[in-house]
């Protein structure tokens, strides 16, 4: 599973961080950081994160 976030769309709502804290987080500067190739066991969380992104900036490939 590959996760791609369109950082041009991302507006730091942070809903993905609530949905999948093992994959998405904010760094010290308040900018979104994420694991691009999370474990398959986290798929449900990542799908939830993609669903709740207000800008629909998260894409899951594979």
């Amino acid at each position: 599973m590959q996760v791609v976030v369109d950082m041009n769309k991302c507006q730091d709502h942070g809903q993905c961080v609530f949905a999948a804290p093992d994959v998405f987080s904010f760094d010290e500067t308040g900018r979104l950081a994420y694991v691009a190739d999370p474990d398959e066991a986290l798929r449900a969380d990542v799908e939830e994160a993609a669903d709740v992104c207000p800008l629909q900036a998260i894409r899951i490939e594979g």
């Binding site: 769309k9 730091d12 709502h13 942070g14 809903q15 961080v17 308040g30 799908e47 669903d51 709740v52």
Partner: protein, 403 residues
């Protein structure tokens, strides 16, 4: 005989999410989505902000449906005009009909319109992609004077966007004394008003609209106090009406949306659910009073719960879910600031406390019910929104307040 489909009436966000969640919950049978708009499901919030401002294209709004729903049938440009719940069948606007195994009511809302006298040309609403395209065209004409009727979410967002687009004048009219007073209360309503005014937006508050002036096309908005505001463009953002007429005649409570039980089921029928902002559901997290909720998060929350309940019923198993109890959340981007809410501030408007910052800068406000925090709203920049998020876990942990 082949299985009748799960029919989803409404092909917007709530309909799409329900189809996806039906698959995720194990329904492998047919699904048919029926939607009146010609467009595939798209994301609506940018219609009053980024897309209206021209920062993002209309084509950027389309949802990417999950692969699991690649086989569903889409009936776009068609609406469900009637349902016979006893016969488990619906009639469509194209004259066709469908039998269903289960029915999902996801028909959403339409904008309420002002009924005062006067021309209709030049008056806009913002609900659909087509609405926003027409409004963008009107707002980008040089030197336009804009009157926004209704100081709620959409009205405040459109006013901000119109200023950014270079409108000559933007005035927001509302019978209430402050913008967004319903969801936010006085403290933040006042702070919001000052911020808009500092950025050039004018207000005519505590005053209703009595009519529209102009021959064939609106040129002014007449107010109850006798004033007439000159207007080239009028935006009506005065709430919305639930699309439930198609369910008439089935003995349902459709007083304000489709009344559901604590598992989003409708009319005591386990094969009928309602999702999205048309659903009037009790939230077990709060007082159990059924309410419609027009937040962006609700289509996804309701879809997940309703789909699990429905699939368990269709499989003849128990769903084993607790009553539906979503934590409400909303945001609104206006000018260069954001409102971010978690919980139910409207239930705690009588006891509002500044938790951090001050109302003219970044501010975090707590709303309390019986001395307990029931909602938070941040107003300001990214730091304020992040501060609100830190209260989310606390709001999630709380037991329901007893009414």
């Amino acid at each position: 005989m082949s299985t009748a489909p799960v029919v989803v009436a409404g092909a917007s966000m709530a309909g799409l999410r329900t189809a996806e969640q039906l698959r995720a919950a194990g329904w492998t049978g047919p699904i048919t989505l029926v939607g009146d708009e010609p467009h595939a499901p798209y994301n609506r919030p940018p219609l009053s902000k980024e897309v209206l401002a021209g920062k993002a294209g209309f084509d950027s709004l389309a949802f990417r449906p999950r692969a699991a729903v690649a086989d569903v049938e889409w009936r776009l440009g068609t609406s469900v005009v009637r349902a016979d719940l006893a016969r488990q069948a619906v009639e469509l606007s194209d004259g066709g009909s469908l039998s269903y195994t289960a029915l999902v009511a996801a028909t959403g809302m339409r904008p309420r319109r002002l009924r005062c006298p006067g021309p209709t040309a030049g008056r806009h609403t913002v609900r659909t992609l087509d609405d926003a395209q027409a409004l963008r065209e009107a707002l980008t004409a040089p030197g336009v004077r804009v009157v926004v009727v209704g100081a709620g979410f959409i009205g405040c967002e459109v006013a901000a966007t119109a200023m950014a687009l270079g409108a000559a004048e933007v005035t927001v009219v509302d019978p209430l004394p402050l913008p967004m007073a319903g969801p936010l209360g006085e403290l933040l309503g006042g702070a919001l008003k000052r911020r808009h005014e500092q950025r050039g937006v004018r207000f005519a508050l505590g005053c209703g609209v009595t009519g529209f002036e102009g021959e064939g096309r609106v040129t002014g908005v007449a107010l109850a106090d006798g004033r007439v505001l000159p207007a080239d463009v009028v935006v009506e953002s005065v709430g919305s009406i639930a699309n439930t007429e198609w369910l008439d005649g089935n003995g349902l409570d459709l007083a304000d949306g489709v009344l559901t039980d604590e598992h989003l089921r409708v009319g005591g029928r386990p094969e009928v659910v309602a999702v999205g902002d048309v659903a009037r559901f009790p939230n077990a997290r709060y007082d159990g009073v059924p309410r419609r909720v027009e937040h962006w998060s609700i289509p996804t929350d309701t879809a997940k719960h309703a789909a699990r309940v429905l699939v368990a019923h269709l499989a003849g198993t128990q769903h084993g879910l607790d009553p539906f109890a979503p934590l409400p959340t909303f945001w609104s981007d206006q000018h260069d600031f954001r409102l971010q809410s978690f919980g139910a501030p409207a239930l705690g408007r009588e006891d509002v406390r500044v938790l951090d910052g001050d109302p003219d800068g970044d501010v975090l406000v707590g709303y309390h019910h019986r001395d307990r925090l029931i909602g938070v709203v941040a107003l300001g920049g990214q730091q304020a929104a992040a501060a609100a998020a830190r209260y989310r876990a606390e709001l999630l942990r709380q037991p329901a307040p007893t009414a």
